[in-house]
Symmetry: C2
Subunit: 108 residues, 2 copies
Amino acid sequence: MVLLDLLGRRMALRILWELSKAQAPLTFRALQEAAETNPSVLNARLGELRDADVVEHDGEGYRLAAQGRSLVTVIRPLHAWAERWASRSGKESATASQLAIGKRARRK
Amino acid sequence: MVLLDLLGRRMALRILWELSKAQAPLTFRALQEAAETNPSVLNARLGELRDADVVEHDGEGYRLAAQGRSLVTVIRPLHAWAERWASRSGKESATASQLAIGKRARRK
DNA sequence: CGGGATCCCCGACGATACTG
DNA sequence: CAGTATCGTCGGGGATCCCG
């Protein structure tokens, strides 16, 4: 589906997240470090996010576009759900997954 | 991330979607056809969704569990965003992506 | 009908070197 | 510093067969 096509990729949400935390635009390298990823993936994601009008690039660096900000808004509840979900009933964990936004847990 | 770990897989959302549309529980085969997928993937997803307490299985078939229903609730806004996004500015499309819930668009 | 077992393949990702 | 190019790998997903 279109939606996951954009957000389901490796660093998409993470990038959104980092940008939403940043007060000022982030440079390519800054983002790279913040998101703990490598140039190729970062570049790929930025490309997609950019022409989805979710992220924009001005002289200073990358920042959320209007679309991106509204997206973050709508994502937050999901995120909240995920937190509740992560720390549900039996299953322990919930420790490292507090933020639930990051790299896809490497499955064994 | 945990969240995408569950929902980012190939038929996860699609399954949720189909189940949320169904009034009665769906059988394995019914789901398989509804979601247009194959046994292996369906089975994999059902397993994950089931032990995430998002989907449950009674004698009649599969249905959303409480968690699942709340998830659908929280997903809906996202879905709405995706629709607006899909039919934004320049880019045409928006035709096949109306529902925006389905298989990951084969890129090429 | 439910669903486990196999097999194969392709594409996403990771690392890293390189250019402007 | 920004971004591109290259290459190898690894795992998820598709198809299918088949058994209880």
